[in-house]
Symmetry: C2
Subunit: 342 residues, 2 copies
């Protein structure tokens, strides 16, 4: 669709205000100019309803005041919340968000990285699955969950602490034998640390544990077989499970249900992410909550930071535990805990 | 962050290819040029790794190949799915999506509308709550769910048919007295038609019905009081409920549970939207599914349509029913239905 070219130009503003074109340019670009001139130019801008042409402005300042955000999708609640929080953090700083749902597609991911070199965005915040992304050394680029090298800051939850927290919580809640269930990318990434943290927590509390680790491509039946192998006389060998995501926790609950087991009476479950019903309702399960608001703030701070040398390579932000109905807290414990309880 | 200015220019490409600057410009802008010249320019572009400057391109073509999408947030599953589908539909056409979470804030909504006049985006697709939005007649603008006037196309689900479908489905499932529960904006909008469709469906099937309508600001307790007024001898006067959203259906289920009522044995419930667990899992409840993919496709088609005069004022797209565990279909009915059943 073509736009009308009848819009007033900077020249029209200069004529209306009775000042030089350069003076209008200074006011528009926020440069110092005599107060008297500034008032006259602003009055002319308002009278003519002059709109700054952002192409021309971009050519001049080499900034677009927009940041590209790469996420696999926005229907997953964790990604949906990240998109929302990143949008807020950018808006607070006068930046716009160009969102790209990459669908885990390495080609799409690379295309967006290239956009920066075409001056289409000022920087990139990306949660990507392409280990071979080609990123220019001078590209403002911040990753979420993927550590890609010392020049590229990575922001993540403290996944190790989260795993440890889950193990210790299950111990506190009286579990005697627990299991860790994980399905996900085999790429080196921060969420993989949930496993080591969990192991460490179990060792610290002398809690017996087993682990079942599946890769993204593996069939879900691997978990069903694992649970059945540990099912004797209508009892599961485990009284506590830590699932690597809330989504997996939800699926495992349905499996346990079909085996005639009750959650949390027979088996307590803790997930990871902090997914809520309809985005802001009750937690889907008891969970280690990722601080999406703090992750978003940190990503935006880092991508806009002028001095690249000051940017830290890895930032891990604190997680928290929230009750969501799949663990056996006492009424007193629930009352003592603040927030996160519906 | 400043970018290096050492990047090759169009002049460098012309020099490398041994052609005139105008020839490079033609190739870059896809205009016809001798095959021999095109090959030389493309080789030079590849050798120098020349990247088109999109500001300069934008100044020339007056296009940014980006569309602003205004949504209240992305954590609500319906909005999250819309954002995802709009992103896909735009990407298929080589367009980028500038996402703005407006938080139901009229000022933010108006600011994005103004962006179009600053040439920052080529058009706007908006699900907004500002009845007083100032939109220029020549602004490519498509709304979702809000009919704003004959010049602005509105794309929505067929909400009337959805309401009627819910009533007829409850009748088919053996309900004898039903109720419609609605909470939402009192603004004139397409979703309000769910009510009229429901009434029409009840009348057509001679199904007794009542309605409880709350405004956005009203306390949720209004529904609890309504249900308690219709609760006698541990039985609810209604054996079927149609809730205006899946979110409301989910909340009402918890209320019924606390009253000792079983869903679907005592009361069948149908929601609206088609929300799924974790975005792509099982349906949260039996529901009238909004066709977010078709809505997104239509919005993008209309916002990019060259001839504004051809754009229809209102497009209503077909909804469908999906079983989600809160209705009493027989095993045979579930087997006959295709899709949407976990």
């Amino acid at each position: 669709m073509k736009k009308m070219s009848s819009a007033p130009t900077m020249k029209d503003v200069a004529r209306e205000a009775g000042v030089a074109l350069g003076t209008v340019s200074k006011v528009v670009n926020g440069l110092p100019v005599g107060e008297n001139y500034r008032i006259r130019v602003e009055a002319a801008i308002e009278k003519l309803d002059y709109q700054v042409n952002s192409y021309a402005q971009g050519l001049k300042s080499n900034r677009t005041y927009s940041i590209a955000v790469l996420l696999p999708n926005t229907f997953n609640p964790f990604f949906a919340d990240l998109a929302y929080q990143l949008n807020l953090a950018l808006q607070r700083r006068g930046y716009k968000m160009l969102l790209c749902c990459t669908g885990y597609n390495p080609t799409e991911e690379q295309e967006y990285i290239n956009m920066v070199r075409q001056n289409k965005v000022d920087g990139i915040i990306g949660l990507t699955y392409n280990p071979n992304l080609v990123v220019e050394p001078d590209t403002p680029y911040v990753t979420i969950d993927r550590y890609m090298g010392p020049g590229i800051p990575c922001v993540a939850s403290d996944n190790y602490a989260g795993g440890q927290m889950a193990a210790e919580k299950l111990a506190d809640l009286g579990c005697r034998k627990v299991a860790f269930l994980r399905i996900g990318s085999s790429l080196t990434n921060e969420p993989n640390k949930r496993r080591s943290g969990f192991e460490n927590g179990c060792l610290a509390r002398q809690l017996n544990y087993e682990m079942k680790i599946l890769d993204d491509g593996d069939p879900f039946d691997g978990f069903i077989d694992f649970l059945k192998e540990h099912f004797h006389n209508r009892k599961l060998d485990f009284d506590g499970l830590f699932c690597v995501t809330d989504n997996l926790a939800f699926q495992i609950m349905k499996v346990l249900e079909s085996m005639g087991l009750k959650v949390p009476e027979d088996v307590q479950i803790i997930g990871f992410d902090g997914a809520r019903m309809f985005g802001d309702g009750r937690y889907v399960c008891s969970t280690i909550v990722q601080p999406t608001d703090a992750i978003a703030e940190m990503c935006v701070e880092l991508v806009l930071m002028d001095n690249a040398a000051l940017r830290p390579p890895l930032v891990c932000l604190p997680v928290s535990y929230a009750y969501g109905g799949t663990t056996s807290e006492t009424a007193q414990e629930l009352q003592d805990a603040d927030g996160g309880i519906f």
